[in-house]
């Protein structure tokens, strides 16, 4: 039994994003769910499923979903869990919600991510290192740390360098992605880098974090929360906002060595998602791709087949993914220039585009959106195909 078009995203809640201090991740999560319910025209009494992807700053309290349930006074849930498959979690949560709804287990599932890793600025004398990039998260440990290999930036940099060696990818190519996303962000009032133009020269001038990554190759760090409400297609049609139908979904977790394969889980996830949706690449009007790095966008474009493997660089070099380009990608500025909500960012932008709420960044006639989530070091992947009609 196909789930094509049987469920929909009916509510979207986005808190203030970025340098928003003094709120806990739990508070951001509760606010995001409340906003999503208001958006849908539902109340908390309608929610019978709650899936939570807690960010790094939730702390070691465990059971984030139970904490949020208590905080929001939700009663008699039929489904709840805290989940983490890295950057693929957000799109995966939508999939589990859809499965629960299509099978009759639930009627409305709230899916939420929140995080608050940014701290208020310290006096200048105390400031050191870090800041402004995902490099703020240092995962260095053991033997790798003895060699100075710290953090996800460093691991992705190894993969990117190998891609450069094998396929001739350059910083010009990566910079084209950063610039394109910034152009989109400049049209998005909610973006952390709204009204902050960036040229390719600016990109090259930005400091190195870990070569081959400049600062502007790395995603933002953001405080905030983001939630969506998933419900049945029938019910969504009676609610406040236009339904955003889930046409197809899939996951792919390759398990190999990404430095060797230079490939994400997208091919596997795409196969299932596109088959369920009954779409082809030519049907995609907007692509909202997980962008922890510019490089991730490049690899993801290749892995979905928008260009041949290894051709991601030339594909993006001409501005084809920027405003006015043939394939609008990360139309709100993405996680590089808008805000970093771990995969909820691309989902939210797809909903905004398909509802026609994009304002200055709205893509004309956006009817079908591709959403990707990517986690680990190209090691987890989830795909959604969302649409205005089913």
């Amino acid at each position: 039994m196909s789930l094509r078009g049987r469920t929909a995203i009916a509510g979207l809640g986005i808190t203030e994003q970025g340098k928003v201090y003094g709120r806990t991740p739990l508070a951001f999560a509760a606010e995001a769910v409340r906003l999503a319910l208001d958006d849908a025209g539902l109340t908390r009494a309608d929610v019978d499923g709650l899936l939570v992807n807690p960010g790094l700053s939730w702390g070691d309290l465990g059971m984030a979903s139970f904490q949020l349930q208590q905080a929001m006074g939700l009663r008699d849930l039929r489904l709840t869990s805290s989940m983490n498959s890295g950057g693929a979690t957000a799109a995966s949560m939508i999939q589990y919600a859809a499965l629960a709804i299509a099978s009759g287990q639930c009627r409305a599932v709230a899916c939420v991510f929140s995080d608050a890793p940014l701290k208020p600025p310290r006096p200048a004398g105390e400031a050191k290192g870090g800041g402004g990039s995902a490099g703020a998260y240092a995962f260095g440990r053991g033997l790798d740390a003895a060699y100075g290999q710290f953090g996800v930036n460093a691991m992705y940099a190894m993969v990117a360098q190998r891609h450069m060696h094998r396929y001739g990818t350059t910083n010009e190519h990566l910079g084209a992605i950063a610039v394109a996303e910034r152009q989109w962000a400049n049209r998005n009032p909610a973006a952390q880098f709204h009204d902050t133009p960036m040229t390719l020269a600016d990109y090259h001038r930005s400091r190195w974090v870990v070569e081959p990554f400049h600062l502007f190759d790395c995603c933002l760090v953001s405080n905030g929360g983001l939630a969506v409400i998933v419900t049945s297609a029938e019910r969504a049609r009676d609610l406040r906002r236009p339904p955003v139908y889930l046409l197809g979904m899939g996951q792919g977790h390759p398990g190999g060595d990404p430095v060797e394969t230079l490939t994400s889980g997208a091919p596997l996830a795409k196969e299932a998602a596109f088959a369920m949706a009954g779409v082809a690449l030519a049907d995609i009007d907007v692509a909202e791709l997980y962008d922890c790095y510019t490089f991730t966008v490049l690899v993801t474009l290749e892995d979905y087949g928008f260009c041949a493997k290894g051709e991601g660089g030339p594909f993006v070099a001409g501005g084809g993914i920027a405003p006015g380009g043939a394939l609008p990608v990360n139309t709100g500025g993405g996680q590089l220039s808008a805000f970093y909500m771990w995969g909820m960012t691309p989902i939210s932008e797809a909903v905004i585009q398909l509802r026609g709420d994009g304002g200055a960044r709205q893509v004309a006639d956006a009817r079908v959106a591709l959403v990707s989530g990517n986690g680990g070091i190209l090691s987890t992947h989830a795909t959604l195909v969302l649409a205005t009609q089913c």
Partner: protein, 137 residues
Amino acid sequence: MSTPAAGKPIPAITPEMRPFFEGARRHELRVQRCRGCGALRFPARALCSACLSTDSEWIAVSGRGEIYSFNVMHQVYHPGFAAEVPYTVVLVQLAEGPRMISNLVGIDAHAVRVGMPVRVVFETLSDEVTLPKFTPA
């Protein structure tokens, strides 16, 4: 892993990795070999991902290899590296198979290239810990 205030992180000698560090102290580069299927692996793992056998041993390898990939670290993640940035971290493809994170010594950071042939050298950090590094072959 301990982190001396001024120095670099010293890797912990875990029970799984002890044979590696014992070898390094004698200037011998060791990797794990599965007794079930013969596959080599590094770093230490409790079981072989090729055949799932938990029976393994440590063997010496040639210490020869080539640069598979690398990065150049500019951001300071640990005070022990503050004086060295930018420094290069390399991923070495050992001639025998496994790949290994390390540093390249005896060459300017920006002269590193993928495919460059390298050989192991050893840097003594303490009585217990000697760290294998690599230099152009």
